[in-house]
Chain length 179, copies 2
């Protein structure tokens, strides 16, 4: 069976609900779809930023921060630490929430933290072709994977040396799905 003729694929309003849900005509299952949480971090090492060259789609070949979908039973901080390990083989220490970004088109809420290395060393995990540190002026701005990478980097820069600040949000009018 292909992806489009299996699983929940018929949109209808279940009894007692007030909006359409994806239901499976074969087994009756209702797939309640909800936004997903992405957790990640701007990790700095002596003023340089840890970035990952994506080895997988979407945006293969573009640079990103270690970040990914929160898993069940994780806190966002745990998710950010796990993703830093999975994508950059980095053990990180989180010190602040840098940003809460929304990408409503794809139903993502991103929680991006500020962190440093908790222990020395990093290397490319399976989803990264390369992991390296960039000085601010060397960041490959034209080759960033997602708009929210830019937003989090800008927030990091704006909050250098600060503690106790509110997290940043999307720039005015920016929905985050396009550059």
């Amino acid at each position: 069976m292909s992806a489009i003729d299996q699983g929940p694929r018929i949109r209808k309003i279940p009894e007692g609900d007030d909006r359409e849900r994806l239901t499976c005509p074969d087994c009756g299952y209702i797939a309640y779809e909800n936004p997903k949480v992405v957790a990640g971090a701007v990790v700095s090492v002596e003023g340089q930023i840890l970035m990952c060259l994506r080895a997988i789609e979407p945006r293969k070949g573009f640079w990103t921060l270690p970040a990914g979908f929160l898993e069940l039973h994780e806190t966002p901080e745990e998710g950010a630490r796990r993703e830093a390990w999975e994508e950059a083989r980095a053990r990180i220490a989180i010190d602040a929430l840098l940003g809460v970004y929304s990408i409503p088109r794809i139903s993502q809420v991103q929680l991006i933290y500020r962190a440093t290395l908790a222990e020395p060393g990093f290397s490319a995990g399976p989803e990264s072709a390369e992991v390296r540190l960039f000085a601010w002026d060397d960041i490959p701005w034209a080759e960033l994977a997602f708009p929210s990478v830019r937003w989090a980097l800008d927030e990091y820069r704006a909050r250098l040396g600060q503690a106790g600040f509110p997290p940043g949000v999307n720039p005015p009018g920016a929905a985050g799905d396009r550059f």
Copy 2:
């Protein structure tokens, strides 16, 4: 068919994945389960707090803040405004992110905002038996629905008159699933 013999119900590790997912043996569908986002608000009116007496389970008969699951394509702020309308027929204006709370046992990430009424008036929506304003000392502390309601109220109180503060998080060691 009953709930346990339909839909994704077999846990196995899909090819190329690294953890168990819920799969449907009838149609092959893989249900990727992810944490859910709850958006809500501490809404104050001349120093009093808007609270809702729950008319539905869980915690029917206990007091809560207007809050609920974020829907697809919503930002957290939009979700908090929608929930305030659905549960308390209140139009709210958000001014700050009060807290980011995790309830890992039930895989929730809660984003609770500080808000005021954008226009006068409120009343019980279908999920609320009663909606009313409480002065701080009159809040029914022994009858709160969830631990995170207390956390958000405490954060509200601690941040009275303040702007530009970082959101609160779970109290040390508190996982949020029990009082």
